[in-house]
Every structure is written in structure tokens, then in C-alpha cells.
Amino acid sequence: MISELLIPLVLVSGVGIGLVSAMAGVGGGVLVIPFLILGLGIDVRVAVATSLLCVVITSSSAASVYLREGLIDVKALSNLEPTTALGAVVGAYITLTLPPHMIKFALGILLLYVSLTMIKSVIKGVGRGVEGTYGGTTPLRRLVGATLSFLAGLASGTFGIGGGVVKVPIMNLVLRVPMKVAVATSSLMVGLTASAGELPYLIHGLPNPLLALALALGIVPGATLGAKLMGRLRTRYVKLIFSAILLYVSTQLVITSLMRWVS
């Protein structure tokens, strides 16, 4: 258990996480998890459960805006979400079954991959996506999308991340959904996936509600501010700084889990 005195610090950290994540164009989960594990030193399972709860809360603010604007693509959602939710439930049971240091190691590898991919995209200047036309979807593409989505859900339930970073490219590149619609649909899907993945943890009484509340209350205004600042700052440098932070925390996760493995 962490002290209640740390809650203001968690709230402020949530603002920082929301700010940086929004400017880097990713969800907060990839920073929340290392913050909980390395920063506060809490158990991996509690961290994953708390992060997923946080994802459900924070995604609802973006999803409610897109719901009102009518930007949710029902076909893409119906195609991808059942397998994603199933993947999240399976992922949650994997985390509940495997030893914590193994999860920590796998998380470190995943974050290492995300940071290196981000550095590569910043250097090469790629990642704009395609302007979908809704004309190129075939049964094979839908099958590929659903299969890849299962993996996105698996990552979400196992590591406590939203998985939007995987879902948006699947919708945009595989299902040919326009980028703006893909982002909107993903915001609702992230909440649905996180809620499916959260349930097994909730039954085991793992999430820390106070931490999730404090983080979410910080992340929402932080992300709003980050989105506003994005137009004024050079996102290239923000992404590079974000990648460097991620590279550092992923290395820390890999090293600490390997040390635990050896000892």
C-alpha cells in the first residue's frame, strides 16, 4: 500500500504524463505503467490493474466527444472489438498466472520496441497514414484485422496499456478507415478493451482505486493542455524526448527483471 500523502504527487505526475503523451501522440498507458512500477515501486499486477482502470476513465472523455460528433465507425468496431476484448481477457489471465518478473521483462521489451519505432519514425518522418476510402476492405483484410486486433487486446490486458497505438494503424492500413475516423473509433474501443481486461483483475481485488482516480484526474487536464500546446511546439523534439524517456524506463524494466531472474 502506498501512503495517502503521495496522492498529490501522483496527481501532478498524472498531469505530466497526460501532457507528454498528448504531445507525443500516444496514450498515457505506456508511461503510467513504468511510473507505477519503477516510480512508486508497486507490484506489477496491481500496476496493470490500476493502469487499465485509468485507461477506462481517461478514454471516456475523448470517446464521449467522438460519440457526439458521430465519428465512430460501426463496421470497423464490430469487426475488431470482439477479438480485441477476448484478447484483453486472455492477456489479463496471462498476467495473473505468470511470475511478475516475467511480465516486467516482456513489458520492458514491448516499451523498448515502441521507443525504437518512435525514434525511427521521427528520423524518417513517416507515420502519416493513408486517407482511407472505405473501398479496399475485403474478407481477408477483415480477418487479418481481427487477428491483429486480438494481439492488441492481448497486449492491453497483459501490460495495462490502451493499445490505440496498434488499433489505429490496423483500422487505417488494413481496413482503409480514414485516419480521423480511426482515431475516433479507437478511443471508444480502447475503453471497451480496457474494461474487458480490467474485469479479471477487479474480481481479484487488484486495482488501487485511489491511485487510478488521482492519475486519471491528472491525465485528463494534462492531455487537454498537451493537445493545445501541440500546435505551438515542435512535435519532432517532443517525440524524441518521449522516446528517450521510454528507452530509459524500458531498459530499467529489462535490467531489474533480469536481475530478479538471476538471483
Binding site: L53, A63, P82, L188, L192, S195, L213
Partner: protein, 90 residues
Amino acid sequence: MRAKASPKVLRIGVALGLVITALGELIKYLLGINELRITSLGLYIIVASPIASLITLGVEYLRLGSVKEALMIFITSLVITASYIMVLIH
């Protein structure tokens, strides 16, 4: 055609869940107890909110006469709810 759904269910659901959870945590802190069912109730409400909003989106499509889209949403909701029930039974 895409329906515009009211985000009230999602917003109210999450907000209600947050208030109940915060209230539960406050009671736990004041009374110095470790377990309180009201906190879990709040968390379950938060977790159920996204699926509830998806169902309202389906209802909105149905109201607009887009039966195909509404059916797609209801089947998706049904599959997700089935996974919830599987977890609860397990």
C-alpha cells in the same frame, strides 16, 4: 450513415462510478478499514460504462432506421458481454 449518440451514458456512468469509488475510499480512510463493498460497486460501474454507451449507440442507429448497423453493434455488445459473464463465472 453514422449516428450521433449522446455521450451522457458514458459520462454519467464514469462520473457516478468515480464519485461512489471516491466516497468509498473516503469512508475507508475515515473508519480505518481495508475492505468496503461500495468501492467495488463504483469500480464495476466505471468498467460497465463503455459497454453501456455502445448499446446506446446501437439504440440510436435503430431509432434512425439503420437496422444493419444496429444489429452489428448489438452482436458486438453481446459478444463482449458474454466475455464479461465468462470471467464472472470463472
